[in-house]
């Protein structure tokens, strides 16, 4: 065999191995994201190396900070378990935010306004329930309901503007993000400000969705009620899109609005419904963030969770189970970055860079699938020819 053929054979075997790993189309929705995550971590490691730090150590620190691996020592009443529960606490708003983005995506819409919807929901729940004297039996459920309604209304409004006036929902939701941010900042500064913390006044413990500093087994832990609700709703959402008639119609409009109209589906109503549902989940993200993970609102900031949710939704391929897994990963990156900063000296902002890169690679998902299919076809063709020779 000539040298050219030998090299070709080596290249083919390498490609064949990769294809074996990601070629199976049934598993692609898991294998490709894993591949993308690996790529992102490799890219991040290169950056860490350039900065003169040990990437393996840094990534290990990352997982320690998140409560996945044990730290060498813990503060009083803290352990890996408490770290892990804090991780779940952090993860809860992210799951809701990502589900919100995923719902919109399934309907062919891009809800980039989750942060604004979160803020509105959190604010209204705060001033109505958070500052009230209701006991936890009433307060907690009401917080959820108020959050859902507030988020749903803003989401529905964006959907209405799209349907009635053909306004691009990305532009309108960003506009609302800023409008909500400034208007609420005004109200907080005028009426609800805590002069010491420069944030809104703390809400009552009874209305908070995370049970803070619960003493159990000699440890002080934060238990997020929202987390359980998030998991349950994710499962419900999966069934909704797989089996229900409304879910079918949302997917139809997302896949082909003209075909959906032809099928008799009311496209306008479906768009508004999709954005409202998305807003409802954004509202839940808001209340679990501002009345759960936090107990107050910092004016003039938009939660980055709203944007990370886009990354998680894309990485999880808009599948609720994939979203839970991806939220888990991205939360680890976000939470662990503080510890990684203090231990390995790598700036915590690198967490958002890693997330950004995961997002970047996720956007190429369709292309990667296409390329894999083409390579498979080619190899089969070549294999067939070799067989003939």
């Amino acid at each position: 065999m000539s040298e050219k053929t030998i090299n070709k054979k080596k290249e083919n075997t390498f490609i064949r191995i990769i294809l074996k790993l990601v070629g199976n189309e049934k598993w692609q929705h898991i294998t490709i994201p894993i591949l993308l995550i690996l790529l992102s971590f490799i890219a991040a490691s290169i950056i860490i190396l350039i900065l003169g730090k040990n990437p393996l150590m840094a990534i290990y620190n990352l997982f320690q900070g998140a409560g996945i691996f044990p730290k060498p020592s813990y503060a009083a009443h803290k352990s890996m378990l408490t770290d892990f529960l804090s991780l779940l606490n952090y993860m809860t708003p992210m799951i809701f935010a990502s589900l919100a983005v995923a719902i919109a995506l399934k309907g062919g819409l891009f809800n980039i306004g989750v942060s604004g919807q979160m803020l509105l929901a959190g604010f209204i729940a705060t001033i109505t329930i958070g500052y009230s004297n209701l006991n936890w039996g009433l307060a907690k459920p009401l917080v959820l309901i108020v959050g859902m309604v507030a988020g749903g209304i803003l989401g529905g409004l964006i959907g209405f503007l799209k349907y009635k006036f053909n306004i691009n929902e990305v532009v309108s939701s960003i506009m609302f993000n800023y409008i909500v941010e400034y208007v609420l900042s005004f109200f907080i500064h005028s009426y609800y400000i805590d002069p010491v913390s420069r944030q809104s006044r703390y809400i009552s413990d009874a209305s908070r969705l995370t049970l803070v500093n619960v003493e159990l087994f000699g440890l002080k832990m934060d238990i997020s009620i929202g987390f359980i609700i998030a998991i349950i709703l994710a499962v419900v959402l999966k069934r909704f899109f797989d089996k229900s008639r409304v879910g079918f119609e949302i997917k139809a409009v997302g896949a082909n609005p003209k075909g959906a109209k032809y099928a008799g589906i009311n496209v306008g109503k479906t768009i508004i419904l999709t954005m409202t549902l998305s807003g409802v989940f954004a509202g839940l993200a808001g209340v679990t963030y501002y009345l759960g993970y936090f107990a107050s609102i910092q004016p003039k900031t938009l939660a980055s969770v709203g944007f990370d949710g886009v990354a998680v939704a894309l990485l999880g391929n808009t599948n609720p189970y994939g979203i839970i897994a991806s939220s888990f990963l991205i939360s680890i990156i976000d939470r662990g970055s503080n510890y990684m900063n203090s231990m390995a000296g790598v700036r915590k902002e690198i967490a958002s860079v890693i997330t950004g890169m995961i997002l970047l690679f996720s956007a190429c998902n369709a292309y990667i699938q296409h390329k894999i299919r083409m390579k498979k076809d080619k190899l089969e063709h070549v294999a067939g020819k070799e067989h003939e020779e």
Binding site: R245, F248, A255, Y262
Partner: protein, 509 residues
């Protein structure tokens, strides 16, 4: 001196899953009109796209004027003086005639000697000259979107002539023309040949090939079957070679037996997005057991009319009555329930949801009803079972059966799926828009037979078609639409092809 001006030797071209051209060799003499005949999907367009530089062959050689060449791009083809008029015009709609013609070969002038700009004025003059020389009348400053199809085609031809093409390829040029416009075009083709050009004519229309071509290559399923001398070959021979078996070019039809009025349209007007009236004050009736065909050149409002009856667009004036009930403002779903089936022109955009499975698409108009849906939940088993039933009954081919993503299916099978679904609705009114476009002769035969069967069952059929042959073949009543108005309604027997052609061009006298 070379014997053949164009030689394509042993050309093979593969696409994923299909061999479009399989070892084809053709030889074309200078100054002849050489036809390439074949059904849809036979490989004619691919072969000529290779000649025009849009694809490269996987195997084989191309010889132009006795020299071996590799044609890597349309630019390269243009340098070899090869030009192509495509089936789907490649024109920029909001540009003028001149801007379209000079695209890619723009004449540049320099302001103050240094700042370059496109010399539109000079180009306008050159285009006017060219238009006069070849008898292709156009206004260089008119915008494409304001021109009708036959005028647009002249722009495509002028594009070739502007680049000094000597070898002119025409891909299905008469697909969108009236009989009169077809006459005009064929005359132009003959004159171009008489002026020394070599013409390659891709067509599936035997009559036209018989009229102007010297020789004809017949392709079937990617292979070259034979090259015939057109003067001596009969259309029957050519048709049989094209399809590979005996074809009957006519559909047998029992005489019409009309029943009650099913659809009544009165003073119907429709406005488009720009608020221009595209359907003007249209009135007609369709009876059960009647095939009512609307003939017309593309873009005269026939599709908008069909869409309006089906409920996809709002009407601005008039009434639509189905079996006596006024459905003018009913939703799409309400109309489907009341009894309208609709097979749309654009099957991939309107008729199907490509990313859904075959089963989901077959149930697209039923999914919300019992037993497909119970209390808001879809019953997958019922949907799949229904899908399997239709696949068998209508012979719909797909790789994974009911679970195939429709996007992966062939155009012909996609159309079969749509027709299957709509016929199963058993609606009293069935609307077919361009039902046989892009299909091979066998599939065309099948669908035309199905339409006649449904008519015999007593359905009222509204057929919108751009193929005059099809209309003359199966219609009972013919209406001609021009500029949004119905110019004439008459039983088929009372109209000749020439008369219909004249109405299609707006001649009312």
């Amino acid at each position: 001196m070379y014997e053949y001006i164009v030689e394509m030797r042993n050309i093979t071209k593969r696409f994923p899953g299909i061999v479009a051209n399989d070892n084809i060799t053709i030889q074309i003499k200078k100054g002849e009109i050489y036809a390439i005949l074949g059904e849809n999907g036979a490989g004619k367009s691919t072969l000529m796209s290779i000649l025009f530089g849009m694809y490269e062959p996987d195997e084989g050689e191309i010889w132009i004027r006795g020299e071996k060449v590799k044609i890597l791009s349309p630019n390269h083809a243009a340098k070899l003086n090869i030009g192509m008029v495509h089936q789907h015009f490649k024109l920029v709609s909001n540009y003028t005639v001149t801007e379209n013609i000079i695209l890619g070969v723009e004449p540049i002038k320099k302001l103050f000697g240094i700042i370059p700009y496109v010399d539109i004025k000079g180009a306008n003059e050159k285009v006017a000259e060219l238009s006069k020389k070849y008898g292709l009348k156009v206004d260089p400053t008119q915008k494409i979107e304001d021109m009708d199809v036959s005028l647009q085609q002249r722009v495509e031809i002028l594009k070739m002539l502007y680049r000094e093409a000597e070898i002119l390829i025409f891909d299905e040029p008469t697909a969108l023309l009236t009989p009169q416009e077809t006459d005009y075009l064929l005359k132009i083709i003959e004159e171009l040949r008489n002026g020394g050009k070599t013409i390659i004519l891709i067509s599936h229309k035997l009559e036209e090939i018989k009229r102007v071509a010297d020789r004809c290559a017949i392709l079937r399923k990617g292979k070259l079957i034979d090259v015939l001398d057109v003067k001596t070959a009969s259309t029957k021979t050519m048709a049989n070679l094209m399809v590979g078996r005996e074809v009957s070019l006519e559909i047998e039809k029992k005489p019409a037996k009309f029943g009650d009025v099913v659809l009544e349209v009165e003073n119907l007007s429709v406005r488009n997005q720009d608020n221009v009236e595209v359907v003007k004050n249209v009135s007609f009736k369709i009876h059960s057991g009647e095939i009512f065909a609307i003939a017309g050149v593309a873009g005269n409002g026939q599709v908008e009319l069909a869409d309006a009856i089906a409920g996809l667009t709002e009407i601005s004036n008039g009434t639509i009555k189905l079996n006596g009930e006024d459905i003018s403002h009913y939703t799409v779903r309400e109309r489907t329930i009341k009894g309208i089936s609709y097979i749309p022109e654009d099957r991939q955009t309107y008729g199907l949801i490509l990313d859904f499975t075959l089963a989901e698409n077959l149930a697209l108009k039923d999914y919300y009803k019992e037993p497909f849906c119970q209390k808001g939940k879809l019953n997958k088993d019922v949907i799949n079972e229904y899908g399997r039933k239709l696949i068998e009954k209508y012979d719909i081919r797909s790789s994974l059966g009911v679970n195939t993503k429709v996007r992966q299916m062939s155009g012909g099978n996609q159309q079969k799926a749509i027709v299957a679904r709509e016929i199963e609705l058993d609606s009293p009114l069935m609307i077919f828009v361009q039902p046989t476009r892009g299909l091979d002769v066998g599939a065309i035969e099948n669908i035309q037979k199905m339409i006649v069967e449904e008519r015999d069952k007593g359905k009222a059929i509204l057929l919108v078609s751009l193929e005059l042959d099809e209309i003359m073949n199966i219609a009972d009543t013919i209406a001609i639409i021009y500029n949004g108005e119905i110019l004439k309604v008459a039983p088929k027997e009372e109209l000749t092809v020439e008369e219909v052609g004249e109405y299609m061009m707006g001649v009312t006298a």
